[in-house]
């Protein structure tokens, strides 16, 4: 379990004092995949780098499995860091060392014997699917392969926590998917707590159990991923979610519409009910589907449908009331 208590990080330059993280408190449960989203400059990078004290917080505490890291330094801190793996946006592999030696480096830091190192490195490379690349230098690998080496290095000492600093931001969509799958597998098989920061809501949707949204150094919204996707509260959160659930209608469609355009949201079980069909049988309105999709977030469906209702005003109102009763969320985008 990771507890972050009233963490504050200030950067003091000659002329000014910039606040990177502003009084953030967070509790991340063991075995959880926790995402932190925000635009660049929101402080998410400072926050994740404070967890393993790559940046020392100005104030506050970071407690991992009961150990307050902010109280440690030198050897004691290095010992704790063995239990916290980290992967990076630009992979940060030692370019003068082979894949094998890059992974072995982490084990050497833990003072393992050469035989133990050899055995463990081969095991890790097998797990990330790079056994055939062990004697190759990082420059000869693709981005996805480099990140796999990064993951093998991060997991070398059986950490309880894995920190991912924009780990897929430099990868193409297909490779991103594969790396996310690997992270998911690692989380499931070893029960490692994963904390990741990203600016891509897609990553959160694919991978995370819970998410926090950061803006100006603060956490402005936090919750389980499905809840945040279904009912975002803050404007910024909505913006992030729209980047995934894109429902932009062509403007002429709204201008020329003769009926009411409504957005219906179905959550969970509701997404599989035939609400629209029932509606049309019970109410004398016509429905024209303009847009729609069902997203599966952690295997729970979240359906969104944009429908144009035409008919007389009273019937439309009655229809709206009906939909309101049967679904979780209705929004009228355009009135007749």
């Amino acid at each position: 379990m990771i507890e972050i208590r009233s963490l504050r990080k200030e950067y003091i330059t000659k002329k000014s004092r910039v606040v990177g993280v502003d009084d953030v408190s967070l509790t991340i449960q063991k075995g959880e995949i926790f995402g932190i989203v925000g635009y660049s400059g929101a402080g998410k990078s400072s926050l994740i780098r404070s967890i393993n004290l790559l940046e020392r917080p100005t104030k506050g505490q970071v407690i991992i499995d009961g150990v307050d890291l902010t109280k440690l330094s030198g050897k004691a801190l290095r010992k704790q860091r063995l239990k916290i793996g980290m992967i990076f946006q630009h992979f940060s592999l030692i370019s003068s060392k082979t894949v094998f030696d890059n992974v072995a480096f982490a084990l050497k830091a833990a003072h393992q014997s050469p035989e133990a190192i050899r055995k463990r490195v081969l095991e890790l490379l097998e797990m990330v699917g790079l056994s055939d690349k062990k004697d190759v230098y990082p420059a000869q690998l693709s981005g996805g392969q480099k990140q796999r080496v990064g993951i093998a290095r991060a997991l070398a000492n059986n950490p309880t926590v894995l920190l991912c600093d924009e780990a897929t931001s430099a990868l193409d969509p297909t490779t991103t998917k594969a790396i996310l799958q690997l992270l998911k597998k690692i989380n499931k098989e070893f029960g490692i707590t994963i904390v990741l920061i990203t600016h891509e809501m897609e990553v959160v949707k694919e991978l995370c159990h819970r998410v926090a949204v950061m803006q100006d150094g603060r956490i402005i919204e936090e919750g389980d991923v499905y809840g945040v996707f279904a009912q975002p509260k803050q404007a910024l959160t909505k913006q992030f979610i729209e980047s995934v659930l894109d429902f932009e209608l062509p403007s002429h469609l709204i201008r020329e519409s003769k009926g009411s355009i409504i957005k219906i949201q179905f959550e969970g079980q509701l997404a599989s009910e035939a609400v629209l069909s029932d509606l049309l049988q019970e109410h004398p309105v016509k429905a024209n589907i303009l847009h729609g999709k069902i997203e599966y977030i952690q295997n729970i469906p979240l359906g969104i449908l944009i429908v144009e209702l035409t008919g007389n005003t009273n019937d439309i109102q009655a229809a709206l009331d009906y939909i309101n009763k049967r679904t979780s969320y209705v929004e009228v985008i355009h009135h007749a």
Partner: protein, 220 residues
């Protein structure tokens, strides 16, 4: 002309060995002392894992101080120190003292510059993995900067060959000294040109070997 070349060959041979001797000793000392000094200059800089402004500024000042003194003056100024260490102020060994003193800060700065070119992310990843400072220096800093350090050694060697010519003023010997004695004082153009050809070849060979080695260890 052929006669004068044959006549000079034993001298040239002796001078060549003296050059190798002087440059070799001072290069070895520059490597032994300049490398740690360069690493120290780097890791005590701001935002690095041994950040220490005092040590950094002090070392930086000393390095700049030595580097701002023209070699010929350094050579003379160091004579008492040379006498203390080697017991003499003349000959190739005596010359090695001032050559080393000149080479250490020169090489240290090159090492520091090569280290600065390492991606900070790699150093950070090593810190995150829980590596000790010594491991980071050995397996990250020196490993990553190896091509640059080899280039630096090449540069230092070539500079030392140039400096060693001046060491002739205290009887240091060497090829440069030969060129000055025969070519400059005696107007013997044949010898002068011959020594210059030897120097040109020597420098070219060193540069080629240095480039080759640097290329071989460069895995980026």
């Amino acid at each position: 002309m052929l006669e004068s070349i044959t006549a000079i060959l034993p001298d040239l041979n002796k001078a060549f060995l003296e050059t190798v001797y002087m440059v070799g000793i001072s290069l070895a000392i520059a490597l032994i002392l300049g490398l740690p000094l360069g690493v120290l200059l780097f890791i005590t800089a701001k935002n690095l894992f041994f950040e220490n402004t005092f040590i950094n500024s002090l070392l930086g000042f000393i390095v700049n101080l030595v580097r701002s003194i023209p070699y010929i003056i350094l050579l003379v100024a160091l004579l008492p120190f040379t006498k203390l260490i080697t017991g003499t102020t003349i000959g190739p060994i005596a010359a090695s003292v001032s050559l080393s003193v000149a080479a250490i800060p020169f090489f240290a700065r090159i090492v520091e510059t090569s280290l600065r070119e390492i991606d900070k992310g790699i150093i950070e990843a090593a810190i995150a993995v829980g590596a000790s400072p010594w491991m980071i220096i050995k397996d990250v800093l020196l490993a990553e900067a190896k091509p640059g350090i080899i280039q630096g050694l090449t540069l230092t060697t070539i500079s030392l060959i140039g400096f060693s010519a001046m060491a002739g003023t205290i009887g240091g010997g060497g090829i440069g000294d030969l060129a000055i004695r025969f070519g400059y004082y005696r107007y013997d153009n044949t010898v002068m040109i011959l020594t210059i050809i030897v120097l040109i070849c020597l420098v070219q060979i060193i540069q080629i070997i240095g480039d080759k080695l640097s290329y071989l260890v460069d895995k980026r």
